[in-house]
């Protein structure tokens, strides 16, 4: 069992009467690439700022490697932040920016200089060491901000959407770089993003946040394939949510009745699922087309959209519900015409009953 780097216990953060974070519990492990993922305004930055010490928490506790840090000011916490706007000191060159934290820690000049060279080398900015921030591109500024935060060897590095200002191509290469730096330095990363692809590709574990509450914590695969609730299923990737009547729930499985018929269907169920009413989540790429009489569901094709390697097809069920499916664009795939009656099928293991 690895050590817990950041332990957040029943933490609530209020701004006046507004609750920005509600009863948050998170255990971020040592040496983990941990991502906070959620839509804009859900409280990601606020959560990061409580860890950094810029926001006092209203209730609960925050521990850093077992030590309660709730009352420590930011300059006493062995945690550094890469700010969303980078905020490089405009009047200092790259080297002076990076050495700033080391000098404040009272490191001697030689050690500090060597460390600066080391991190500048790590982010490949050696040749720009004497430039002012205004003389750097956005991507270079981002790397300076990273180097500056890494230089003091923080126990935890907090990154607030560090890639959001970069263009798509650059973002993809920086993702890999960041992951690599995390692995070589062994520093715990807490990474904030609203971009699900970023979260899925980079993280060891992800916490999905909505409305100031943690919805689910897990690996990319857990979150994508075993979403806990409708929010997670809908926010991560695309999904079809089908209203079903649930007849029994036991041992992590549920039996439900699909709409438009009396087909009994048994599938994995989320922890909060109960007998009565529920939502079945099925990913578009997990739905297959069959003859109408062979399908779990039946309907009529209403739309088809060409997506390059894939084809997206909409099918309207008898009750009016639209199901979207994703078909590979290849010679063998039969793409139905609009108006064609079709049957839809999916494997038991690929559908999931969510809490209502």
């Amino acid at each position: 069992m690895s050590e817990i780097a950041v332990d957040i216990l029943n933490m609530t953060k209020r701004y006046g009467s507004f609750v920005a974070l509600r009863d948050v519990c998170l255990s971020i492990k040592d040496n983990e690439f941990f991502t906070l993922l959620g839509p804009s305004g859900c409280g990601k930055t606020t959560l990061l700022r409580t860890i950094a010490g810029f926001e006092a928490i209203s209730e609960g506790a925050i521990k850093l490697y077992g030590e309660d840090i709730a009352d420590l000011p930011p300059n006493k916490r062995p945690v550094n932040t890469v700010f969303q706007q980078y905020a490089l000191f405009p009047h200092m060159n790259v080297r002076a920016n990076v050495i700033f934290g080391l000098q404040r820690l009272g490191q001697d000049e030689t050690t500090a200089r060597a460390r600066v060279d080391e991190v500048l080398d790590m982010v490949q900015l050696m040749e720009f060491a004497d430039r002012l921030p205004a003389q750097l591109s956005g991507g270079q500024q981002q790397r300076v901000a990273l180097a500056r935060a890494l230089a003091p060897k923080p126990k935890v590095l907090l990154l607030d959407e560090p890639l959001s200002a970069l263009d798509l191509k650059l973002r993809q290469s920086v993702r890999q770089e960041l992951q690599q730096i995390q692995q070589t330095t062994g520093i715990t990363f807490v990474f904030v993003t609203h971009d699900q692809e970023e979260a899925l590709t980079m993280s060891d574990r992800i916490a999905v946040i909505a409305d100031g509450q943690v919805q689910q914590v897990g690996s990319a695969r857990d979150i994508y394939e075993a979403p806990q609730n409708r929010f997670v299923a809908d926010f991560i990737g695309e999904t079809n949510l089908i209203d079903v009547a649930v007849s029994s729930v036991s041992g992590g499985y549920a039996t439900c009745v699909l709409p438009g018929g009396d087909v009994q269907f048994t599938c994995p169920a989320a922890a909060g699922a109960v007998v009565g009413h529920g939502h079945l989540s099925v990913r578009p790429e997990r739905v297959s087309l069959v003859k109408p009489q062979d399908g779990l569901l039946r309907g009529v094709t209403t739309r088809q959209v060409y997506l390059g390697t894939d084809m997206s097809v909409d099918v309207r069920l008898e009750g009016g519900k639209i199901i979207t499916l994703r078909l590979q664009n290849s010679e063998e795939t039969h793409i139905p015409e609009i108006g064609d009656p079709v049957g839809l099928n999916f494997e038991t293991g690929t559908a999931r009953l969510l809490e209502d």
């Binding site: 810029f54 300059n75 945690v79 932040t81 700010f83 905020a87 000191f89 405009p90 009047h91 700033f100």
Partner: protein, 269 residues
Amino acid sequence: MARKLDIRHFPGFLPITYLCLFLLYAPLIIVMIYSFNDSNSITIWGGASLRWYGEVFWGVESAKFKAAALNSITIAVMAATTATTIATLAATAMLKAGRFRGKSVSFALINLPLMVPEIVTAVATLIFFSAIGFTTGYLTILVAHIVFCIPFAYLPIAARMQGIEDVYEQVALDLYATRFQAFRLILLPLMAPGIISGFLLAFIISLDDFIITNFVKGAGIETLPTAIFGAVKQGIKPNIMAISTLLLLVSVVFVTLSYLVGRMGQNKK
């Protein structure tokens, strides 16, 4: 269409512009030219010379003007320094407080003295000083100058602050700086152009002030503007023109410097 709306194409625009410029600058130019007049008369040209400048520095009235100038300069330096310090602290507080209720009211309060008629401030200040039993003199001038210089020092500093986000301070704190180090190493250097610009402006405002000074100075002490006024009451002599030209020169230099320093800070981001 755009061309028609262009203000430069309104009929009569050009003559009015020239009239305004003439009224604004002609008197100044005439004073400047006649300060080099060799004649004793202030209206009749008697050839060019530096006679009256010599008179300012070494003539019969020079002692009086030198004493007044010394008062003016020492008061301006001290008033500008104090006002700039206060304005810097005020601007820092405004930045760090972020958005708070009453921020615009505070801003207005700091800048209100700019809008109050100077004569009102002068009378009020005098009444205030006599109410609390201050004897008028050097000290009352200094205090009054500090007070009315604050908004002038504050404006360029606040303008400069617009470009400084409070996130810089947070970064510094995050990187283990104390609050004081964050201020000294990050905020202060970033504010420096605004501070210098504010200081220069406050200095020249203090140096040039007449109305308030005249009210609060009391008998027996003069600053340069009040000394000039006193001399003019006894009749305008050409040496007044020379002094005025010198004062104008100092003003222009300082205001230009203030503007340039302030702008340099804006560009260097």
